[in-house]
Symmetry: C2
Subunit: 146 residues, 2 copies
């Protein structure tokens, strides 16, 4: 078995830059910081404001406008998936694979549900010329008052 080692800081930055270049985006300081915040740990579901708050804490400041711009660019590039759950803020999901969500109404927290666990029976597809762009399943959880 192999010991996992923390990669040196420069390597992390180089990875982030490579990921950005692969998406056709210039690896600016701000975007590198955002890639690291988003993809440095496991899968995440973040709002723009949450991500903005995180980067404010860091040395490299990122404006809120840039956070929004970048989240949308990453979504267009296929690095993120935008989730519209409640009719308020948008969530951005670093897990772009096929899966669904638990939504904790109390806290606004999202938790992944593997796509295989949900079976959607074949539904009558509407008018020709149209195409299913995605199926979202949201299981709303009421933090029960036991």
């Amino acid at each position: 078995m192999t010991m996992s080692t923390t990669p040196p800081i420069d390597e992390v930055a180089r990875d982030a830059a490579a990921r950005l270049r692969a998406a056709g985006l210039r690896p600016t300081r701000q975007r590198v910081a955002l890639v690291r915040a988003l993809f440095g740990q496991g899968d995440r579901h973040v709002t723009a404001e949450q991500l903005y708050a995180e980067t404010q804490a860091l040395d490299v400041g990122v404006s809120l406008a840039t956070v929004y711009n970048t989240l949308h660019q990453f979504t267009r590039a296929g690095l993120l998936r935008e989730l519209a759950i409640g009719s308020g803020r948008s969530y951005f999901d670093t897990n772009t694979g096929h899966h669904h969500h638990f939504f904790y109404e109390g806290t606004g927290q999202l938790v992944d549900v593997p796509g295989e666990l949900v079976q959607v029976a074949s539904v009558p597809l509407p008018p020709k010329g149209t195409e299913v762009s995605g199926v979202d399943v949201i299981i709303r959880i009421k933090d029960g008052g036991c």
Copy 2:
């Protein structure tokens, strides 16, 4: 077979008033107008602005604040179901039974999918003390550029 006749205008209003009283709400002019706009025809999926525009056209004007107040009261009373589809406006659904939705991304239109057509396999339920308050399935339709 029985001929369907258009009920006299007063009867419609009386029905609306009865429905409101049953929900514990005073049958004001505004609420009667909204009940008729919402439930006078088949199932509907409307936004607050849409409903506001409709009532503006009528003789009995209803303010936007009242449209919002009333939509939420009706939702609390179980007459409507609030749908959070995109992270913008809320839709209010006059069909409160078990069903799901096609969402036409181009037009913002919602179309019902009978609940039986969608099978959600049993998913691992999260921590005790919590309860599933609902399962929403949204089939997003991209108005295809064939």
